[in-house]
């Protein structure tokens, strides 16, 4: 027992030392890294039409990475749902927290602005900070506020949870098809076919806006499914 924890401490310190050494080397490579970044800064806006260079990278240059990121997200949502549904198949009502005028009024007041903020973050992700992941999470947690105020069952009945789960995978399919459409026209996959647009206007950035909207809806649904699975499994909110 003593020996094994000593061994663990040695392993941990070795890992930390290796991590530090890696960091020192990253300082050494600073020059090369800045060159790679300079190419994105110089050509990113011209190449993609998006003012926000971060979303230009993850939704245009490195869309391939983002696809698998989405797959990881979907698998996580599926895993949460699968393992929590195994346990209790019961249809009993989810116990509500006691009715509170403060929470009810706050939810009524705050839900529309939160949803609006989520939609704004999704739609303007290529012009300003934001994007599909952040906006979807904001809107999804807005639904959590609603579930706290109205009870999770009421929100779930209004949102048709089983159909939503299918819809989430259909959005992933739609993104895959969008990525593969250029192949039909004899181009390479992941080619952006839409015009770049005028830099800074809403219709700029080629397909980034479409990807952002699809990812936003997907993350919104995924967040709600995860929250609802946990709430239903616990039996109370």
């Amino acid at each position: 027992m003593r020996r094994s924890s000593l061994y663990m401490i040695i392993t941990a310190s070795a890992l930390v030392i290796c991590f530090c050494a890696l960091l020192m080397m990253m300082f050494e490579y600073r020059g090369a890294r800045e060159e790679a970044g300079a190419a994105y800064i110089e050509r990113g806006a011209i190449d993609t039409g998006a003012a926000n260079l971060v979303s230009a990278i993850y939704l245009n240059y490195r869309l391939f990475d983002t696809l698998f990121e989405l797959l990881v997200f979907s698998v996580a949502v599926l895993g949460v749902r699968f393992y929590l549904a195994e346990q209790k198949g019961s249809e009993e009502e989810i116990a509500r927290i006691p009715e509170s005028q403060v929470i009810r009024t706050a939810a009524d007041l705050l839900f529309p602005p939160i949803l609006l903020l989520g939609i704004y973050l999704v739609l303007f992700g290529h012009l300003s900070p934001g994007g599909g992941f952040g906006g979807g999470t904001v809107a999804g947690t807005g639904l959590l506020l609603c579930a706290v105020a109205l009870g999770a069952d009421v929100v779930a009945r209004r949102f048709h949870e089983a159909a939503l789960e299918r819809f989430e995978w259909e959005i992933l399919l739609a993104i895959l098809l969008l990525v593969l459409i250029p192949v039909l026209l004899g181009r390479l996959p992941f080619t952006d076919l839409l015009p770049r647009g005028r830099l800074g206007s809403l219709a700029s950035g080629g397909s980034i806006l479409i990807y952002n909207a699809l990812i936003g809806i997907k993350v919104f649904i995924g967040t709600w499914v995860v929250i609802y699975s946990f709430v239903r499994h616990r039996g109370e909110i």
Partner: protein
């Protein structure tokens, strides 16, 4: 840059998180430590390319200073999403273990599993 900057803080947080991950026996605290490790990684990536005079990499006409490198920011996004996925799934497994063994202590769970195996 002084001795206390984002990178050194990230290294310290990473060490604390790693030690917590290995030494603490409570599964939920292990997950919190995992979150700390992930946060320190994000802090490291962001502060490595931080510049005193840099501005956020959003192109506009009257940028007064050079933009910072946007590539680490794009990588941080993947880190956040994957951390969410890991935490959600790990929490589910912890919930299943707690329902079966009624404890979050990893060593007690191990002992009980060993006891189950030898009837």
């Amino acid at each position: 840059m002084g001795a206390i900057n984002g990178v050194t803080i990230a290294i310290v947080l990473f060490g604390i998180g790693l030690l917590g991950l290995i030494l603490r026996r409570d599964l939920v605290i292990k997950l919190l430590a995992l979150g700390l490790v992930n946060g320190s990684t994000i802090l490291c990536l962001v502060s490595l390319n931080a510049r005193v005079d840099g501005v956020a990499p959003i192109v506009h006409s009257q940028a007064s200073a050079p933009y910072v490198d946007p590539l680490p920011h794009a990588l941080v996004l993947s880190a956040i999403v994957i951390n969410f996925a890991i935490l959600a799934l790990a929490l589910v497994f912890v919930m299943l273990l707690v329902e079966r063994y009624h404890t979050t202590d990893s060593q007690r769970i191990e002992h009980e599993i060993e006891g189950e195996r030898i009837p």
